[in-house]
């Protein structure tokens, strides 16, 4: 079957009352963005509370088009549809039978017809359509059986100002269209978790900027390239990302030199959050996003997260907080970041790790030890902020 039209299903957008048009506009915009790199040309339309995509070129690649649409947040389902004009029943019935025959060569199945009539001026109502179309299909293919509760195939016939015939709903990623829910700053490392965290927050309609802490010569150009690659991989879903690369070496060495070794990671995390928040505010972000997962490592215990969080005033989103590692890996494999994440380059979190880092840091003690840095930390902090190198990824 050579489909020329796709009907796009979305869930939560429908709930948004008067804001609905904002969400639908964003959805159309994101669909257009995703289709830009696909072979062929397309027209995305909003009609009668539906978003449809018409193929306007002679050729296009069905699989590529579906894969692109499956990266658009807000879409819950993609239905390849056959569109017929609002023809009289006799003709419609022929079309439906023809559709069935082409799409399902194997007739050893159960089916039902599900008709909807948005335009009440059609000659039959939906109950009659169900009954008559079911009858006509059965007559054409007697080996079929009807099952109204759990059919193998449900053929939907929607009567609007045209008639849509479809039976397949290919899953979309769900969520909400990008750009409908503000912007956040993602702390992106080279690991498995943070790209997944970025994906999950973007899925709620949030535009993502990212910050990476680079520590040359302790971390290599390749480690940085890996982060750029990861940002590029998630940008497939999140849209363009502005990646901020911050030179963190001097702060890290200062902490290493002057603070107790077992508190190194936690103090380092506090400075990272502080810098990320400054960058977030300077770049119109309303929140921070991290890949932290409760209890995964010493710096992600409930106590450590509390101590880290204390430096922030913006909300910090931790979408993976309740996830097991395997759950995170599963998503990472699904969105295609896993293989890049596991490339073995050191990132700045693994350079100077203590053998036994604190798992229950005490905020007052940490703050007291941070006093050791007071001599030049402001200067180092300023330099780190100034080192911001922005890499635009799209």
């Amino acid at each position: 079957m050579n489909y020329r039209t796709f009907l796009i299903k979305y869930a939560e957008i429908g709930l948004k009352g008067k804001n609905r048009y904002v969400f639908e506009d964003a959805l159309v915009k994101q669909i257009n963005r995703a289709l830009k790199h696909c072979e062929g040309s397309f027209e995305v339309k909003r009609t009668e509370g539906r978003v449809t995509i018409d193929v306007t070129s002679d050729d296009y690649d069905f699989d590529e088009t579906i894969a692109a649409l499956q990266t658009v947040f807000g879409i819950t389902g993609i239905c390849p549809v056959v569109v017929v004009d609002k023809v009289p029943y006799a003709e419609l019935s022929k079309e439906v039978v023809k559709y069935f025959d082409e799409v399902y060569p194997d007739k050893n199945k159960t089916f039902k017809v599900f008709a909807r009539r948005a335009h009440k001026d059609y000659e039959m109502d939906s109950m009659e359509l169900n009954k008559e179309l079911g009858h006509d299909i059965l007559e054409a293919f007697p080996e079929l059986t009807v099952d109204v509760h759990h059919p193998d195939i449900q053929i939907t016939v929607e009567v609007r100002n045209v008639i849509y015939i479809y039976s397949e709903i290919l899953p979309g990623p769900g969520g909400m269209p990008l750009g409908t829910n503000g912007k956040a700053m993602l702390l992106l490392s080279g690991g498995i978790d943070s790209p997944v965290a970025g994906y999950m927050i973007a899925k709620r309609g949030v535009v993502i900027d990212a910050v990476y802490f680079h520590a040359p010569p302790y971390t290599s150009e390749r480690a940085k390239q890996k982060v750029v690659d990861l940002a590029r991989l998630i940008s497939k879903y999140t849209g363009p990302i502005r990646l901020h690369v911050i030179n963190f070496t001097d702060i890290q060495l200062a902490i290493y030199e002057k603070c107790p070794h077992e508190e190194l990671t936690i103090i380092m995390r506090r400075y990272m959050m502080k810098i990320a928040e400054d960058l977030a505010k300077a770049n119109d972000c309303q929140a921070l996003v991290t890949g932290e997962s409760l209890g995964q490592v010493a710096s992600q215990t409930i106590h450590a997260l509390g101590v880290t969080n204390e430096v922030c005033t913006l909300p910090v989103f931790r979408p993976l907080i309740g996830f097991d590692k395997q759950d995170i890996i599963d998503i990472s494999e699904k969105i295609g970041t896993f293989e890049t994440s596991i490339l073995p380059f050191e990132d700045c979190c693994t350079i100077f790790v203590a053998k036994h880092p604190v798992t229950k840091p005490n905020l007052e003690i940490i703050k007291r030890h941070e006093e050791n840095l007071s001599e030049n930390i402001d200067e180092l902090y300023r330099k780190a902020i100034e080192s911001d190198e922005v890499i635009s990824i799209w």
Binding site: P217, S220, E257, P344, F345, F352
Partner: protein, 384 residues
């Protein structure tokens, strides 16, 4: 400023070579197998290259075969000759410090039922000929030993080994991986009892993706690639004419001034070692003087992580290689450094500096100066 001291990884091509490659690509681009003039013109480059290599190695032109590089030469020599001689026996001897192109070929042969003996080395990274003698058996069909070790520059006693092999059994084949040695030493297969010799172009200022395998006439060997039957069916596939022409020119240029260049490299090496080892706790791996290769220096910096030192040098425009590729969570300890029994603490603190004809005394001095700046700084922040 750029100081490139990673010439054992690859070299900068001679400008003359680049010109030649471009000329062949854009003007004499014919397929040497074509019957017309364009083909004949292209074939001339192949013939000329064969004559150049035959001249340098003092062998016959028909014993020169062109491949895609050192790896393919090693694969073809080892797998091709093992398969062709398996009726005579299935035992092979090599060393534990060979390049992966050799070791992985051996692994493959083991999976086919061959038995491989891996010889260790002495503290200098040299295979003891006596050890080889002990390992030789009646069913040994092939011995593969490298000419120059790529990590620490130890030179193997190829001539002695050749004699031992042929004394034991003239039919046992001797393959030498000379990827690091060619262009730094006179290598004469006929005198050294070498049956097969691997050469790579990009280690001698030629283009990448091309190499030579010398195969002595009458050597029993099977082709391992299949196709149009080029190069006497030993290596099918349209010859990489630009690459071959460029490589031959590079070889010619290198061997025109071999003694002079080696002399120069040795004096750079000596100067570097003398100055660099003045830094406390810096030690040399492998042979220090002229018993080693002229262009490779392996240094261990106690208390410094190789990867970090490498990047710190990179920051100053100095490019080197870490002696042991040591990656997070995947410590791949260098077989060579293990074979010479290097102190465990130094395995991850070892850097290889490798020179070329482009390397200057000033660059050596700059590098020593950089090491003097960086090493104490890095030691201050060593992992506690």
């Amino acid at each position: 400023m750029e100081i490139y001291l990673d010439n054992s990884a690859t070299t900068r091509a001679f400008p003359e070579v680049a010109e030649k490659v471009a000329k062949v690509m854009t003007e004499d681009y014919g397929n040497p197998s074509s019957m017309h003039m364009k083909g004949v013109d292209a074939e001339k480059y192949i013939k000329e290259a064969k004559s150049i290599f035959a001249g340098i190695l003092k062998v016959n032109e028909k014993e020169i075969f062109f491949t895609s590089g050192g790896t393919e030469s090693d694969n073809l020599a080892i797998i091709g000759s093992a398969l062709a001689n398996q009726r005579a026996g299935k035992h092979i001897i090599t060393s534990s410090i060979e390049h992966p192109a050799v070791l992985e070929s051996m692994k493959y042969l083991e999976s086919l039922g061959f038995e491989v003996t891996y010889l260790g080395t002495n503290k200098e990274g040299v295979v003891e000929p006596d050890e080889l003698k002990k390992a030789l058996r009646d069913d040994t069909i092939l011995v593969s030993i490298m000419h120059t070790n790529n990590e620490i520059g130890s030179l193997q006693r190829i001539s002695d080994i050749g004699v031992i092999i042929k004394d034991h059994n003239p039919n046992t084949l001797f393959h030498v991986d000379a990827v690091q040695g060619f262009g730094k030493a006179k290598i004469l297969p006929k005198k050294m009892n070498i049956d097969m010799l691997s050469i790579s172009s990009h280690k001698i200022h030629g283009p990448k993706g091309v190499g030579v395998l010398y195969i002595a006439d009458k050597t029993k060997i099977h082709n391992i690639s299949f196709g149009g039957g080029q190069q006497g069916n030993m290596r099918s596939g349209t010859e990489n004419v630009p690459g071959i022409a460029g490589m031959a020119l590079a070889a010619k240029m290198i061997y025109a001034k071999l003694d002079e260049e080696c002399e120069n490299l040795y004096s750079l090496k000596e100067r570097f070692i003398e100055e660099a080892t003045k830094i406390p706790d810096v030690t040399v791996n492998g042979p220090v003087g002229r018993e080693g290769a002229p262009h490779i220096v392996s240094l261990s910096f106690r208390g410094v992580r190789a990867e970090v030192l490498l990047h710190a040098l990179e920051d100053k425009g100095i490019y080197v290689s870490s002696g042991s590729a040591c990656a997070t969570n995947h410590p791949e300890i260098s077989k060579t450094l293990k074979a010479i029994d290097l102190d465990k603490d130094l395995l991850d603190s070892t850097i290889r500096f490798s020179f070329s004809v482009f390397t200057t005394g000033e660059e050596i001095d700059e590098t020593v100066k950089a090491l003097n700046d960086i090493v104490p700084m890095l030691r201050k922040y060593a992992r506690r």
